[in-house]
């Protein structure tokens, strides 16, 4: 098979840049540890309360260290359950100090949902039977919309909450 000289240069350049690109992705994933969210922990979707993190009293924001927080979220059609505040009201908004290391842990007890904190890299799928988690540092103060970005039914676009970084 005859290859034109320019074609050879073109293929070599293309394949070479591809290899560099994939190597960078690989180093990012396996050396620097920026893997896409891939939590492998399972639970019973019909009984998520059996898991410590998703017991009713453990939902929502918890400080676990100086500048370290965990947010446990139970998604259902069409709501994110962030627990109740001291007065027993449903929490619609959580507030986290800027610069905190935050672990989001979420699951769903019914259908597939999305979990996206718009304006950040927190973006993961929630599937029945699996926990999804994402560890991040929220540096920039502001109001972030937590929303469902995977179609979950007729009220899908109403499924939201707010995370304020202050």
């Amino acid at each position: 098979m005859h290859l034109h000289k320019y074609e050879k240069i073109w293929i070599a350049f293309g394949t070479g840049s591809l290899l560099v690109f994939l190597t960078i992705l690989g180093i990012g994933a396996f050396y620097q540890g920026t893997q896409p969210p891939s939590c492998l922990v399972t639970l019973d979707p019909a009984n998520v309360q059996a898991h410590e993190s998703f017991k009713e009293e453990n939902l929502g924001l918890h400080q676990v260290g100086e500048n370290e927080y965990v947010v446990n979220v139970l998604a259902t059609a069409f709501n994110y359950d962030l627990g109740k505040d001291a007065e027993g009201n449903t929490v619609r908004k959580i507030r986290i100090p800027a610069g905190s290391k935050v672990t989001f842990q979420a699951t769903t007890s019914d259908v597939v949902h999305g979990f996206q904190l718009a304006g950040t890299n927190v973006n993961m799928m929630l599937e029945p039977g699996y926990i999804s988690d994402y560890v991040t540092t929220l540096n920039t103060p502001g109001e972030y919309t937590l929303l469902c970005n995977e179609y979950c039914g007729l009220g899908h676009h109403l499924m939201m909450a707010v995370v304020e970084v202050y």
Partner: protein
């Protein structure tokens, strides 16, 4: 010289039957798209209790599955008839496939219209639609398999009649595309037949959600190559003739198609990068395999521009870019596919971002993704399909592309380009700002971010409106091409000749067992261990949820 056969009247009728469905789908699906963009602009409410997610389901099913598949199968029959011929028996079988596809389409469409299947075309479990929706989809796929076997048989028969001869390039390409389609639809057929249908009929109580999603995406990405390759077929085997040039290299064209056969299937995990339950090591492996398709696309880009340049220089144009002027810009059969090619440059670049392991998290399920596939399938592929229609429809109906229709076609192409630039551009930007895809109009509790998205949603409605005007114009042109009387003579079916006369296409390119074997090995490599892993570590299954989609 390439041997060219004539397309007989009954064959033309068969192909046109596919085209009628394709263009009717364009009109209906396009209207749904227009309505979606209007709703999301926040200024329009759907009348008569029609749901946003209902029209979204129609839009996805009728454009992503019905329009594309009917056009592709029809066009591929035309290429096969032209290059290797079609026997009466094959044609009868092709009709059987057509009617099975039609029955499947009507069943699924009826369930969507009744509001029993607001599950979008991806029908993710455990949302549960009416069983007839899944049965309709299954029948549709079975109908396409008949088309696969007709195409395989056409080439096999030709090979038997022409022993030792290299198969015609058009037929070679069609067979590769149908192999991709057949191998990949085995995945979606498996999940529909063995998971969704028994579960929706109540024969089993639970469904394994992650297995069903994995089988769906095993099909879902090759699907986009099944859309793209017919455009490549036109670029390689037809466009050179239209511009008065030659095919740059037969061997390179075949090599690029063979690489698509190998690398378009074992890549579904790049749609599941943000999902739990899948080992990130295997996600990365499939990301690497995904990027391998960049090579045949780069080969194609080189071949196209080489063809353009050589045609221009042969006509006496000189200088570094002088040949560019030699291209027939006023011929819509060239202009529409050319803009399609140009759109594939940003489209492909966006695709690199989408599949980039970590970077995927920035855009996953945002409206950026919608913007991406409106550049690729709705511009690159659709403009090429329109470009094909301008000569294929009149060729089949015994008419001519008149200068007047050519002019209308050029206007249509410009309208499409402008509308898509606005709509897809706004989608890309809004997606980067976090706006989700597949969502009805929402202010998200009035957050500042959601406010910011509205302006881009209005831009999408403007782009969508321009595009719908383009669709109306295209439909009008189609009707004119199919039915109106026109001057004497029949539009030519352009078939390009080879530029490289050495004929040195390696024999191994036609060793089907070898290439299918490598494709299967790659699929087994990419999927066996993670799939066993997923099944062994499965959580309890999910019952069906009907109420969230209003199917109760």
């Amino acid at each position: 010289m390439i041997k060219k056969l004539d397309i007989s009247k009954p064959e033309a009728r068969l192909i046109m039957s596919f085209m009628y469905v394709a263009f009717a789908s364009l009109l209906i699906g396009g209207l749904m798209g227009l309505l979606q963009t209007l709703v999301r602009s926040g200024t329009f409410k759907l009348p008569f209790g029609i749901g946003y997610y209902q029209i979204l389901t129609v839009h996805g099913v009728i454009l992503g599955l019905v329009l594309t598949t009917f056009f592709i199968i029809g066009f591929q029959y035309a290429l096969m008839s032209k290059s290797v011929g079609m026997s009466n028996g094959q044609r009868k079988l092709a009709w059987v496939g057509y009617w099975i596809m039609m029955i499947g389409t009507v069943l699924a469409a009826t369930m969507i219209l009744l509001g029993k299947a607001n599950v979008l075309y991806t029908f993710y479990a455990p949302l549960q639609a009416h069983p007839l929706y899944y049965i309709g989809l299954a029948l549709f796929v079975v109908g396409t398999w008949i088309a696969c076997f007709v195409n395989f048989h056409q080439l096999a028969k030709w090979k038997k009649q022409n022993p030792g001869e290299k198969s015609p390039l058009m037929a070679f390409m069609v067979v590769i595309n149908m192999l991709i389609w057949f191998i990949s639809t085995l995945g979606v057929a498996t999940t529909v037949l063995f998971q969704f249908i028994p579960w929706s009929l109540g024969m089993v109580d639970e469904i394994n959600v992650l297995v069903s999603r994995t089988l769906f995406w095993y099909f879902g990405h090759p699907l986009v190559y099944f859309w793209l390759l017919p455009a490549y077929m036109a670029w390689y085997t037809i466009i050179p003739k239209i511009i008065g040039g030659k095919i740059f290299s037969d061997a390179l064209a075949r090599l690029s198609f063979l690489l698509f056969l190998l690398f378009s299937i074992p890549v579904g995990f790049h749609h599941q990068l943000t999902e739990p339950g899948i080992d990130p090591f295997w996600k990365y492996i499939q990301v690497v395999l995904t990027f391998a398709v960049a090579i045949p696309s780069l080969l194609t880009a080189f071949s196209m521009f080489a063809t353009f340049e050589m045609a221009g220089r042969a006509k006496g144009y000189s200088g570094l870019f002088g040949w560019f002027k030699a291209l027939p810009w006023k011929d819509v059969r060239f202009l529409a596919p050319f803009i399609g090619m140009a759109a594939f440059i940003p489209g492909g670049a966006g695709g690199l971002i989408n599949a980039s392991n970590q970077l995927n998290g920035v855009i996953h399920n945002t409206i950026w993704v919608t913007g991406h596939f409106h550049l690729t399938v709705a511009t690159t592929v659709m403009l090429t399909f329109f470009g094909i229609s301008y000569w294929l429809i009149p060729h089949l109906t015994g008419k001519k592309l008149t200068p007047q229709l050519n002019r209308l076609g050029i206007i249509q192409t410009i309208i499409w380009t402008v509308g898509m630039t606005i709509m897809s551009g706004a989608m890309h930007i809004a997606g980067l700002l976090g706006a989700p895809r597949r969502s009805d109009y929402s202010v998200y509790g009035g957050t500042e971010q959601a406010q910011e998205w509205i302006g881009y949603q209005i831009a999408q409605a403007i782009g969508g409106t321009i595009l719908f005007i383009g669709i109306l114009l295209m439909f009008y042109i189609f009707i004119k091409l199919a039915f109106n009387s026109s001057p004497e003579g029949v539009e030519e079916f352009p078939v390009a000749e080879y530029g490289d006369h050495d004929g040195a296409t390696p024999k191994v390119f036609e060793n089907w067992r070898l290439w299918i074997g490598i494709a299967v090995v790659l699929i087994l490599f990419a999927y066996t261990i993670p799939l066993i892993d997923i099944i062994q570590n499965s959580p309890p299954g999910s019952p069906g949820f009907k109420w969230p989609i209003g199917n109760s």
